[in-house]
């Protein structure tokens, strides 16, 4: 089959800073691709790149010569912007109130019979005379879908075609898509990977701007990637509640961590010499740096696990360290995960007990948990899909699941500060993605500020804006 368009070891940079890396992807005439991946993996970037967006840093792009019929957020925004401009900029002699739907539908060289059929099936007939901008979200989507499907352009790109379409219309919409996929080359992007249309032949799975898998969708590997994605798409799930009478912060507005002129050295080696740092509520931080740069020491100063926290000017959660507070006063506001903790957690306990211990900052469970706490733990297990494992021994879970469980343990009390020290260390790509997805979701939680330590810049998380790079210079 002739190559319609493709990328050859292409590195493409976008103005947002996002990069597609080492793309090696060729689409042949008549191919039917599903492009899948989590939020931020680069799907939209890839589609944009097909359309010529972004700057090619290296490699080759074989741009499509055929016209493209596209349904995507980008297209929708462009259309809306165009319409608004027309309305504001002056009077279009033909359309005083904005382009009517019927004209929009004609824009991509449609097959008339097919278009008529789609108008009926998608219930668009009564809207034909209305200005396009006046349509509701669902109606707009259906209109744009009809526009793209009816088009005779050989390349069809559908980016989340079902977004915003009401439940009753989804079946019809899917059916229409199947009907029109026909002999065209189709690129479908959807997060609904539980029900991949049967006409799809190939899968390209994206992660952090690279294609991790491309090949037949019927292959077992493809199924693995899709299953992972399905597990990872937690964006619509709500976090479990907090315990009602949890001890609050002394002052929810003042800095969580305030370090002034901190000095730490081990023997002759100085790790910190005059460090000043402030973490305010809601400010997520990523801490990066090579081994030995002081990341763990920094965290230990906060958690109280370093004796140097007593000899420096540290104010943690309103407690000036070394003035009569107990370490448990501090730890109650912290949820902590590290691969070190993972190793240390060798008490033989059930999964449920491990999560319950998070309420008490203990390794192993030494106090009786309340019913409320047990309920919250069950909800967290459900969130990460492990509620069936509640009574199983913790150390019999897979390594990746153990890590996930420890993160949940750190979160059960929705602490003011969540510290994740290299949470992805030692995890295979599947589990790594699971962990990142969970953390990504946690960044949206208003009550918890995240400190994320990772030496690997590839482990970026969208919601974490601030960065501290160690070792500090000067």
């Amino acid at each position: 089959m002739a190559e319609l368009f493709g990328f050859d070891a292409a590195d493409i940079e976008f103005s947002s800073g996002f990069c597609l890396q080492q793309l090696d992807w060729q689409v042949a005439e008549g191919d039917k691709w599903l492009v899948a991946g989590l939020n931020g993996s680069g799907k939209s970037a890839l589609l944009a790149a097909i359309g010529g967006a972004g700057r090619l840093q290296s490699g080759r792009v074989n741009a499509p010569k055929e016209p493209i019929a596209e349904l995507s957020v980008a297209v929708q925004r462009a259309l809306a912007a165009r319409e608004r401009e027309r309305l504001e900029g002056g009077v279009d002699p033909d359309f005083e109130d904005g382009t009517p739907v019927t004209v929009i539908l004609q824009e991509l060289n449609p097959d008339s019979d097919l278009l008529e059929e789609l108008i009926d099936r998608l219930d668009l007939r009564r809207h034909l005379a209305q200005p396009f901008l006046n349509l509701s979200t669902g109606e707009t989507q259906k209109a744009l879908l009809a526009r793209a499907l009816a088009s005779r352009h050989p390349i069809l790109i559908l980016d989340e075609p079902l977004k915003g379409i009401d439940a009753d219309s989804v079946t019809v919409a899917l059916d229409c898509i199947e009907r029109c996929a026909g002999l065209r080359t189709v690129i479908l992007v959807t997060h609904r990977v539980n029900a991949v249309p049967r006409w799809v032949e190939h899968l390209a799975y994206l992660e952090s701007g690279s294609i991790r898998y491309q090949g037949a969708i019927a292959a077992p590997q493809a199924a693995d990637w899709l299953e992972q994605m399905s597990a990872l798409t937690m964006t619509h799930r709500v976090l479990p509640p907090r315990v009602i009478d949890q001890t609050p912060l002394k002052d929810p507005l003042s800095p969580l961590v305030l370090m002034k002129d901190v000095q730490v050295s081990f023997g002759d080696q100085s790790i910190f010499d005059g460090l000043n740092w402030e973490i305010n509520p809601g400010e997520h931080w990523q801490i990066t740096g090579p081994n030995g740069s002081g990341k763990t020491t920094l965290l230990n100063l906060i958690t109280g696990d370093s004796p140097h926290c007593y000899t420096n000017d540290l104010n943690i959660f309103g407690f000036q360290r070394g003035t009569g507070e107990s370490i448990w006063d501090i730890k109650q506001h912290i949820g902590y995960v590290s691969s070190g903790l993972h190793l240390a957690y060798r008490v033989s306990a059930s999964v449920e007990r491990v999560l319950l211990s998070g309420f008490f900052d203990s390794i192993g469970l030494y106090q009786t948990a309340s019913q409320e706490q047990e309920s919250i733990v069950r909800q967290w297990l459900k969130l990460i899909g492990l509620e069936k494992n509640a009574q199983q021994p913790f150390n019999q879970q897979s390594y990746g699941n153990q890590r996930l469980l420890l993160i949940a343990r750190a979160m059960v009390k929705q602490p003011a500060l969540l510290i994740l020290d290299e949470p992805c260390l030692g995890l295979d790509p599947l589990n790594r993605a699971l962990v990142i997805a969970l953390i990504d979701q946690l960044t949206h939680n208003k009550t918890t500020t995240i400190l994320y330590v990772s030496h690997d810049l590839a482990d970026r998380i969208d919601g974490i804006a601030k960065r501290l790079s160690l070792p500090l210079q000067g």
């Binding site: 109280g304 696990d305 004796p307 140097h308 007593y310 000899t311 009569g324 507070e325 107990s326 370490i327 006063d329 008490v347 033989s348 306990a349 059930s350 007990r353 491990v354 211990s357 008490f360 900052d361 203990s362 390794i363 192993g364 469970l365 030494y366 106090q367 009786t368 021994p393 913790f394």
Partner: protein, 490 residues
């Protein structure tokens, strides 16, 4: 100075020996608040000194250290320990006058010298705390009347005290208030706050007395904890090698065997340890244990008697004055034994194999624990005290042998324990020689190797009944139950 215990009338002796009560968790609701804002100064910075200090500071208390001038100026390990952990360190004259609570965590041998130096510097109505009662009871140290004297003794090595605290738990702890020194009646309140500061309240605190603690502690460490394990190691190793077992294998069986066997003891007492054996092996072990108890009872009684009369401590203090000539001599001898010098084999030994091939070792633990317990309780020590100083601590000592054989054990335990252990060893070895003579590798080294594991029903019932009904099992179940109720295991 004269032995304090010997100066007491009999009824006082009995009363103090027989004190050891498990305290309810509700008694510790105030946590460390009695000591908040007070100045705690720790004398010495060894294993207990450092680790207790770390816990107390993390509990919110004001902790600093004081050491001898020479330790500071020469930057000795104690000085380095304290300063590298961010603690203030100063000489006695600087730190003691300001202290509200002075924790004497120096080695036994130094106690009377240390107390003599610091007592005059302590401010009025301050408190002096010990983690072991030797100085007060055996040496009969008298303390200024206005000072409160208490004891807080974690029943674990210093490192365990710290590790369990960090885990959010603690280790079982004994507390006591010296009858002669509680002028303001606040001794108990201070002791409870101190125990809470080390995390002891989470694992269980026992209200005891200086006398009970010392007499039972000395007995336990000399006879079963260090004594039997050391003697047993040498006897078992020599027997195996003598019977043709590969020396490297024999050394490994002994080194890790104690730890493996006593792990079962830790979780379920002698009952569980014996249940780990096959039925025929259990019957064999019971028989061996019975024989050893008969042979060794007089020795155990002698140790207990010498401890009670003060003869043991007197003899040891004489050796102190002799520059520890005996202690050092025996330490050297031990390092030269064949067991100690043998390098262990790489061969994998499964957990159950340690039981199956270590029947004699199981019997030795059973015999030693039961004898120690029986002898202590017969001498007026309460079952709780006897339990902690016999069965409870065996696994902890076994851990040290697993790390680095007898060298590690002797380095970790106090000099007092080490001295007592050698005394025991010297008497026990010859006593058990005739017993060991006819034994072969079926009970140590190779296992019974039976195809038919059948036993006589009546015999098995009788032996099981005997094991389970021993008083150490009764009190053990109860105390382990308290500890696990406080430590809900998964």
């Amino acid at each position: 100075m004269a032995n304090y215990f010997n100066s007491l009338p009999l009824r006082e002796q009995l009363a103090q020996l027989g004190t050891c009560d498990f305290m309810a968790a509700s008694e510790f609701e105030d946590g460390v608040s009695y000591l908040r804002g007070k100045k705690l100064v720790i004398v010495g910075c060894g294993s207990q000194g450092l680790n207790q200090g770390l816990n107390l500071r993390d509990s919110g208390l004001d902790v600093s250290y004081t050491l001898r001038e020479s330790a500071i100026s020469e930057a000795r390990p104690s000085f380095v320990n304290a300063t590298s952990n961010g603690f203030k360190v100063g000489p006695y004259a600087e730190m003691i006058p300001e202290a509200d609570l002075v924790l004497n965590l120096t080695p036994d041998k130094q106690h009377s010298a240390v107390v003599k130096e610091i007592e005059p510097m302590m401010k009025k109505n301050a408190c002096l705390a010990y983690s072991h009662g030797f100085n007060i009871v055996e040496e009969g140290q008298k303390i200024r009347e206005d000072l409160t004297v208490i004891m807080v003794a974690p029943k674990c090595p210093g490192t365990e005290v710290r590790e369990e605290y960090k885990r959010g738990f603690g280790v079982p702890t004994l507390i006591a208030v010296h009858a002669d020194n509680d002028p303001n009646g606040e001794g108990l309140a201070i002791a409870k706050a101190y125990a809470a500061g080390t995390g002891g309240d989470r694992a269980g605190v026992l209200m005891s007395s200086f006398v009970a603690e010392v007499k039972s502690d000395l007995m336990g460490e000399q006879t079963i904890l260090c004594g039997m394990l050391q003697t047993g190691s040498l006897l078992c190793f020599d027997k195996m090698v003598d019977q043709g077992v590969e020396p490297g294998y024999a050394a490994k069986l002994v080194q890790y065997g104690w730890e493996t066997i006593t792990e079962a003891l830790k979780h379920g007492g002698i009952t569980n340890m014996m249940d780990r054996l096959s039925n025929p092996a259990k019957l064999k072990a019971a028989g061996l244990s019975d024989s050893m108890k008969t042979i060794l009872r007089p020795l155990y009684e002698k140790h207990m008697d010498d401890i009670m009369t003060g003869r043991f401590s007197g003899g040891m203090m004489d050796d102190w004055h002799d520059d520890d000539v005996k202690l050092l001599g025996w330490r050297h001898e031990t390092s030269e034994t064949a067991f100690e010098r043998e390098s262990i084999s790489d061969e994998e030994i499964s957990e159950q194999t340690y039981f199956d091939q270590g029947i004699l070792m199981v019997a030795m633990v059973k015999a030693g624990v039961e004898l120690a317990f029986e002898t202590m309780t017969a001498a007026g020590i309460k079952a709780e005290s006897a339990y902690y100083e016999s069965l409870h601590e065996v696994p902890l000592i076994a851990n040290t042998i697993a790390r680095k054989k007898l060298f590690e054990m002797n380095s970790t335990i106090s000099d007092t324990a080490e001295y007592g252990c050698y005394l025991y060893n010297h008497a026990c070895l010859p006593l058990l020689q005739p017993f060991m003579e006819p034994l072969s590798t079926d009970v140590i080294g190779r296992g019974l190797g039976l195809n038919d594991l059948g036993v006589d029903n009546q015999e098995l019932i009788r032996v099981n009944q005997e094991i389970r009904s021993h008083p150490v099992e009764d009190i053990g179940q109860m105390l382990r139950g308290y500890m696990t109720a406080m430590k809900a295991i998964g």
